[in-house]
Amino acid sequence: MKVNTMAEFMAKGEQPEVLFWVGCAGSFDQRAQKITKAFATILDKAGVNYAILGKEEACTGDPARRAGNEFMFQMMAYQNIQVLNGYNIKKIVTTCPHCFNTLKNEYPVLGGNYEVIHHTQFLQELIEQGKIKITDSNEWKGKSITYHDSCYLGRANEIYEAPRKVLESLDMELREMKRCKSKGLCCGAGGAQMFKEEEKGDKRINTERADEALETKSDFVASACPFCNTMMTDGIKNRDEEVKTEVLDIAEIIAKAIQ
């Protein structure tokens, strides 16, 4: 399976229908790479004409901006918008809610106007349009799962239904945590926390959230953000429950359920 870059499309004088914005976690983090590969496989199977930026992609600037470094953010935004506009990009899909939020809400005022969708929304569309078919004998059937809302997808952009609709299409038993949707509890990674030690307190945020996920006694925990995925995985590991309860991105779940 070959993944084409925008440069390759341009060389052929073609334009893909959508750009897959991979994000830094999806590109470099070993765990998140699996999510990236799963989503690319789905795009391929669904026959979506897509491209990536490859080496031309750079951090959106989200963690720098939230840490307070507006200079760094503006530098990254300027570069990325130059690249995206240079390729005349119209539509972007991304597996990272932080990239999603920045591209969708923060680039327009800087001159970057694109239709930006999150991969859970894209997956919902592909399923509804019949472009991917869930196999009847998929391995998830009848299993229980709890979905952890990403703050940057949920409260920040009010996307609560798409990820749940995708999971429901698998005939899985969706169990909600006590705090879910607009009341969902953060995994602890946002606001550049991912890149520093947690401040001192009496519990780690991801342990608190992992405990809540474990309380649902689900077979799996679903995430829709590479950072949430890391945090939840670590939190569950801290409770020595990682063998019983696996944390999976929605793209990974779907990739294993289609022909």
């Binding site: 991979v22 939230r66 307070g68």
Partner: protein
């Protein structure tokens, strides 16, 4: 004698209104210490927010039982204030229940409904008081409220109970009337003769109105100011997705001029302060947020940092902002203009540790019933820390330099960004 009472009442009313107006103007001035922000787009959507969030109290309904009790207080407060009109006219002209003959049987219906509301307010206040002092909900016993803020909340509840009781006693001791709730209280006053009853009624009437004037003038010093500011605060609340941060035009331009020097203006502009160090660097909306805060603590109860024992409490961020703003206001009152007092919101009122704990998850913003964003203030202060003071934890400095040099927050070679494609 009657004339003296009328004059006394008129002076009292005039003074109460004057002081209240003066205090409101001071608050307006303090809010406008903040930086300009032009929030006037999409008026239709903004009025809708007023309707849904302020009038409809949508966020309160995240807990329906509390929402209903709060509605009793809120409707009771507004409706019973209509009765105030009659009280004021009676007080100034020396009349007694001037609306009674005008409204005929409608008057009884009106006062009956006031009495029902007064009773509901009484019940709600007692329940709210016990939630704070007997059941001791976590968010009410938090150290955020130690000292004055805790007394403030209790003073308001007790005052409401007293005012409503006086209103009912006043009606119960009026021999000419027979209203829905107060008629049940009449037996309590059976042992008094007509003169004594008139005395009690009169006293209740006076204490009631003095109490209301006192309450009105207490508002500007209290967390209770939300009964007024919830409305403009809903109007000016952001209409955009919560994930969107304020753009800093000045830095956007600097980057643009660095990249495309031909775009740079020939005249150099004075460098701007980055982010917020003190209240005057925040927007007026941030400052109105601070005055709108009811200190209910729904934000902190939902804050992932706060509920895992970190120092950060979004409620405390709002309380500190108001405390600092009032100190700056007093400074201006004394000195005519603000004279540096060696203090600032950042460091003296809000510490670095608090700011560092925020995950920008928006839970506090989502929960606030009166459309406050503590997160906005946190992020503005973080901007000042990083860009004015170069004050960031070492790991963040590493992250910044990785982004700068490797185009990712981690130290990976940019050449490996698409390495995953060869593993498919």
């Amino acid at each position: 004698m009657a004339l003296i009472a009328e004059i006394l009442f008129s002076i009292l009313t005039g003074t109460a209104l004057f002081l209240f107006g003066k205090n409101l103007l001071t608050i307006r001035r303090n809010i406008l210490i903040g930086k300009a922000a032009f929030i006037n787009d999409r008026p239709g959507d903004r009025w809708k927010q007023v309707l849904i969030l302020a009038l409809g109290q949508k966020k309160m309904f995240r807990n329906p039982l509390v929402a209903i009790l709060h509605i009793f207080l809120y409707v009771g407060f507004i409706i019973i204030n209509i009765e105030l009109l009659e009280i004021i006219i009676d007080g100034i002209t020396g009349s007694h229940r001037i609306f009674a003959p005008l409204l005929g049987s409608y008057y009884t219906i009106l006062i009956n409904s006031f009495e029902v509301l007064a009773a509901l307010v009484l019940i709600a206040c007692i329940i709210f008081y016990s939630r704070r002092n007997i059941i001791r909900l976590k968010r009410f016993i938090s150290k955020d409220l130690n000292g004055w803020p805790r007394s403030d909340a209790n003073i308001i509840l007790i005052t409401e109970v007293v005012l409503m009781s006086l209103f009912l006693i006043m009606n119960a001791t009026d021999p000419a009337t027979h209203f829905l709730i107060s008629s049940y209280l009449k037996p309590l006053f059976n042992s008094f003769n007509e003169n004594q009853l008139a005395g009690i009624e009169h006293t209740a009437w006076w204490i009631h109105i003095i109490g209301i004037y006192a309450f009105m003038n207490y508002l500007p010093y209290s967390k209770h100011l939300h009964i007024i500011l919830a409305f403009p605060n809903a109007y000016y609340a952001p209409l955009e997705p919560k994930g969107k941060m304020h753009n800093m035009q000045s830095i956007q331009n600097e980057v643009l001029y660095a990249m495309q020097p031909e775009m740079a203006p020939t005249e150099a502009t004075a460098p701007e302060k980055f982010g917020a160090k003190d209240v005057m660097d925040l927007s007026w909306k941030n400052l109105m947020d601070a005055y709108s805060c009811t200190e209910c603590g729904r934000c902190s109860a939902a804050c992932p940092a706060n509920l895992t024992g970190k120092l950060l409490s979004p409620r405390k961020i709002m309380m500190s902002t108001r405390d600092r703003l009032e100190a700056v206001g007093k400074n201006i009152d004394t000195n005519k203009t603000f004279i540096a007092d060696g203090k600032s919101l950042l460091h003296d009122y809000i510490t670095v540790e608090e700011l560092r704990a925020c995950t920008t998850c928006n839970a506090c913003v989502e929960e606030c019933p009166v459309s406050i964003s503590p997160m906005d203030i946190i992020l503005e202060l973080r901007r000042s820390l990083v860009m004015e003071e170069s004050n960031a934890p070492a790991e963040w400095n590493g992250m910044f330099s990785n982004i700068e040099n490797n185009f990712a927050p981690w130290k990976f070679s940019p050449d490996d960004r698409d390495a995953w494609t060869s593993q498919l």
